[in-house]
Symmetry: D2
Subunit: 404 residues, 4 copies
């Protein structure tokens, strides 16, 4: 990424004032100078949308996303938006994403990608048909040392995989915040907006994606114990799940949003026959690796000649200078921008199939954009659905459906 | 414990040369000067028993435990052993313990206490009948800050309990050590010696006891995924279990003996409606406490006026001077010695029922001996049995039996 | 900072390709959308300056800073740069800064601000005369929990201060990197470019500023043991200094650039009569506080109602979502932008002296821009000078001069 | 140490009720079964001595140490004490030690060994003349990973040494505890009992010994800033010292007893041209090693085939089972016992000079007793003296005297 290419013109749906994640997306888009936010339909009412846009100094503030789609489509190609970020509550991801994909616009969509698998499959099909770049902000996989963990597993350094433990502890929903006017808590507690999963959807899906990205294994079967712990809550705020990955590898997910004192404590442990690794989101600049009969190793970001290309490409500053959440988030954005420009060059050069830039394989090379794809998004939705079905059946074992 | 009372004369069954745990018991017994090891039947053959005894400089080295029981029983009461430590492989705990209890000797027994619940119940009955002091070396509950955690929960500081997470990660069985002549690994891998549980019995039972001791809750139902991960192994070396405690409190146990790099990484997290706590065996001199909307607190052992009496009584030296595994183990021994002397004084004074010194209630006061009882031991065995039954049924939910 | 104000038009001097710190300044300027980089003279030769500018997609790439100053001064006020960032090697800070200040432009200058105190005093005078906003990128004071530490000290929570320990361990200069074409190491090892201090100037000045900012105390006397450890090096790469702060408070600085394995390990400990605090740059989202006879407290960024306004204002995302080096750096930029706009409004409203926005006092309120000032810069230069003089005299005690 | 040899019969001077360190010595002596405490003169008055002895159940409780020396000397050689532990306040170490050494008894002496160098040299001479075993309880060097650190340095793994940082932070003297009847604080604050050094003697001497033991380097010159921080205190409670070791290697000691929240936080960092290491007493079961351009390594005690013989010999239980302060203390005792038995065998075999069992060289082999010697003790006293002299001269550089 030596020369700074022209920034991608970006629109945003959702993320108006008071929305935590909208501001994060904007900082992530801005950090590397690869995007320019030029348009938006930021809230659920036209009035607030326009007001929020003005507040942000947005050049083109629309009242609704339909209006934005319509207006931008007819604008001079040199000015109109090239991509849209969708940062609404979950239930709106699908209609908005589908419309923009079908209009040939590149999409960055928050997670969970849709509220059910039917939507997810439809979106996969639409993306395949249109060939647009579609990234899902499973932002934790943007951390350099997560990419390094993926490389270590793929290299065989840990031997055959044996067990995967994913923890995701939060405490912010330990009280009934949704009754106190907290906007974030509010929509997450409402099945009509959040979907059928509570904690399992909100943080469980991040956990699933992290495990799948690092190990290359998918959850095939699970047994879920989901609980709405706080009295009066309708969706689960605590989720413990026994997992069986590809090839019979065992796993556990321990997640909660009512663990007082926990902030955003996502942890991954991968055990293999020759070694194991541990990574923790709140201490993201260190990766602990144990190899059989050897001293524990602590790898740091950009720490030296031992790091792989993907990790090196995902870091901006020397090790010891902490990179954090925004930087990892920005990594998804940077790779989507790169993919958009690559696709453009390829189109100009006369034709590349979108398959060629498949981000899932791309991860192992720094030369190819590396971001969570529409397929990652669909797998996450299937995972949530299976967990909810397991719970509904009395915490029984259920298979995780894919492409049924 | 101001004045040093006369040491308790101790015999030992098992723990001959090469046995890790025998040496630990001996150091634990010695540390506080409350025991004097005077007799032993240390190995499974008379020759090795006598040789091991000689090596240790033991005054009375017997060939078998039956011989020791016989000989000591007829010895001058001022010289004969007052208590016996049983540190054999699991399958021998029951017959030895029963015989000594029935002979009116106090017993310190390793865990799991027996290989099935029938044995455990029989032992409970025998202890009740004889009135002897019977301690089970669930040694991790001997740590001062575990006692403090128990006090915090009992005090209501964490509010209503919501979720308990217990982790126990080890890696020493990641390869087939039992084929390499490793004595520890050998008997643990053999169902005839270890019982029906592998990791679930060896370390899972410690985890169960720690959780129950700190929370006062018992596991009532569980769904267990037990796996012999290393090819060729007959017993599970990895165990993940969904738990339901008294009152519907949710829990998870994540345990493994094949997690390379993990040494003896036992961790407990207790979440309640007003706070949570975290303790880790490898960092035993710190207890992390989170209270709602307050900064995280880190308590240290003997750290100040804020610690409870039980924790204070269980510590020997100022905070910052690390106490470890042997000290915690010694705490079980010290309390058993205290209980033995108390019972003696009470007997001399003309009669106290053993119930009056019930260690489980005793825990909250420093004045009363505080050690894991025969009932703790029985509950641990029932837990192991339930987990094995769950696995046998296809990782289904099963109730944990008690006193059926 | 509710409404997004118009971005400040920024020029940059230095920071062309290969320069670590130039890229950091650009990300920091971009993150919050408060600056727009429109012009630059990025390298030491006109050819490379123009090439670097083109590479970055800079609108106006000049060959030299003089050329930039000249051209921008005559440009339409609505388009010309409002501020300049100076990110050259140390020896160029003074001439460039002075010229821009005298031209009435706001300045962001890297540290150490100048290579001697005469320059520093001249710059202080020029800033006072022109009334421009002048920030020095002592970026570590931009961390939210550093601001919280400052508030705690100022509040008296730690009692009377007793001792300050500052450590700054790096290892990247453990070998003679400057001989291998490493640009960063190259100029730092050359007294003509770096000034008379090596490690004491490069990282010691950060340490001094951090200590002074948090405690409000200044180093008044010191005894320095500076060593060029790596054979052949002319400037110190290791620095150990005994310190005496205002009021006789004792202190120590332990700094090194040859501590293998250390990355950017800046640590501050402040001890008082009622408590102490600890902060570490590599773990910047936690602040450890000890109060007499109370459990240790760990504060986190945005962690709750207990945090002060300055820390809260300096954080962008919820705690548990790590913020890092770039965010802290951006905090300096954001506050400088705020100060520039405030000054502008005040000027338009008809007159506010620059003294009224003095950032050093401002620190304790979130309402006032909070960034390191030209006076902080000058104090840092005096500190370096005193340490070098102490060493020259045989590691003797010398007073730190100010305004002599 | 396969076969358990006959325990060494031990007497104790000092360490009566209320004395922290006496109880530690007794547990340390007891842990490995290598000593049997049979006699003592435990307090400074005959009445309390006898009472303390009775309380401990001591077989032979004497009123004074002179009485004990006299009585034991005339006792049957098969019963009389073979060694004495001296655990009095500092000022009594010398007269007691000298008398017992001259009587041909082996000695374990607390630190600092004497209150001045004249005494120290006299003791060195007496030990050389009598040939007894003389150990000083610089107990921190008994930790297995300290022995491993020493081995790593000696092996050249860190290259040429460059810098040594020793920190020792305590907070227990942050208030005037000596006025509240605290016995430990009381004598430490009184120059007549403690000697001329406060913190520099009490903890600084431990720090000096740790650094010298691990690096093999001695402090040759120093510049000390010693402060009685707490108003009214006569001896320093805070000590910061610039150090120059053998061969010009630089160092710093940062020590305090008024750092609130610090408990017993002794830390050592050794930097070399090829690597560095870090060890911390409060986390003693881990040793962090950095080698140039390699990932950080964390060694654990007994952690695997990579550990050296001395560390392996000094550990009792598997890694992950924390060993702590008492175990490290016991390591000094165990090695002294071993040396006593070796000397005895050698004497019986017809003559070995005491030089042959010199513990300082012995350290690198597990076969030879490894404990701090009378020479270590003398070097520690010289270090304290030099620091006090530096302070007296206005914190100037002074040479550390040896054997003047």
């Amino acid at each position: 990424m030596a020369k700074n290419p022209t920034p991608v013109r970006l629109g945003m749906v959702g993320g108006g004032s008071g929305a935590f994640i909208g501001a994060v997306h904007r900082m992530a888009a801005r950090l590397d100078g690869r995007f320019e936010l030029v348009a938006g339909a930021l809230s659920s009412t036209p009035e607030r949308s326009v007001a929020s846009g003005a507040e942000l100094g947005l050049r083109r503030a629309y009242g609704t996303w339909e209006e934005m789609l319509q207006a931008e489509s007819t604008r001079d190609p040199a000015e109109r938006i090239e991509a849209v970020s969708i940062v609404t509550p979950n239930h709106m991801h699908y209609p908005v994403a589908l419309a923009f994909v079908e209009a040939g616009l590149n999409v960055i969509c928050d997670k969970p990608m849709t509220v059910d698998s039917n939507q997810a499959r439809a979106l996969e099909a639409a993306v395949a048909a249109s060939g647009v770049v579609f990234g899902v902000t499973y932002n934790y996989t943007g951390y350099p040392l997560v990419k390094e963990a993926r490389r270590l597993v793929a290299s065989g350094a840990l031997g055959e995989l044996r067990k995967v433990v994913i923890e995701y502890h939060q405490g912010w929903l330990a009280t009934r915040l949704e009754e106190d006017g907290n906007k974030q808590a509010g929509w997450r507690a409402d099945p009509a907006l959040a979907g059928t999963g509570g904690a399992i959807g909100d943080i469980g899906s991040h956990a699933e994606n992290l495990a799948a990205t690092v190990t290359g294994l998918h959850v095939e079967e699970l047994c879920a114990d989901l609980t709405p712990v706080v009295p009066g809550r309708r969706l689960d705020d605590d989720a413990n799940v026994l997992l069986r990955f590809t090839g019979g590898v065992k796993g556990v997910l321990v997640a909660s949003q009512v663990a007082i004192g926990a902030e955003n404590d996502l942890r991954l442990t991968v055990n293999g026959s020759r070694g194991s690794l541990h990574w923790r989101q709140e201490d993201p600049n260190r990766l602990v690796v144990h190899l059989l009969n050897a001293p524990t190793q602590v790898l740091t970001r950009a720490g030296g000649p031992y790091l792989g290309a993907a990790a090196a490409a995902a870091t901006r500053i020397p090790s010891g200078h902490p990179e954090g959440f925004i930087e990892a988030f920005a990594e998804v954005y940077r790779n989507v921008a790169e993919a958009i420009r690559l696709r453009e060059r390829s189109a100009n050069a006369g034709g590349m199939g979108s398959d060629d830039a498949s981000p899932s394989d791309a991860g192992l090379s720094s030369a190819v954009p590396d971001y969570p794809s529409v397929n990652d998004g669909a797998r996450g939705v299937a995972f949530i659905e299976a967990a909810v079905a397991s719970q509904a059946g009395g915490s029984v074992w259920v298979k995780v459906g894919r492409g049924a």
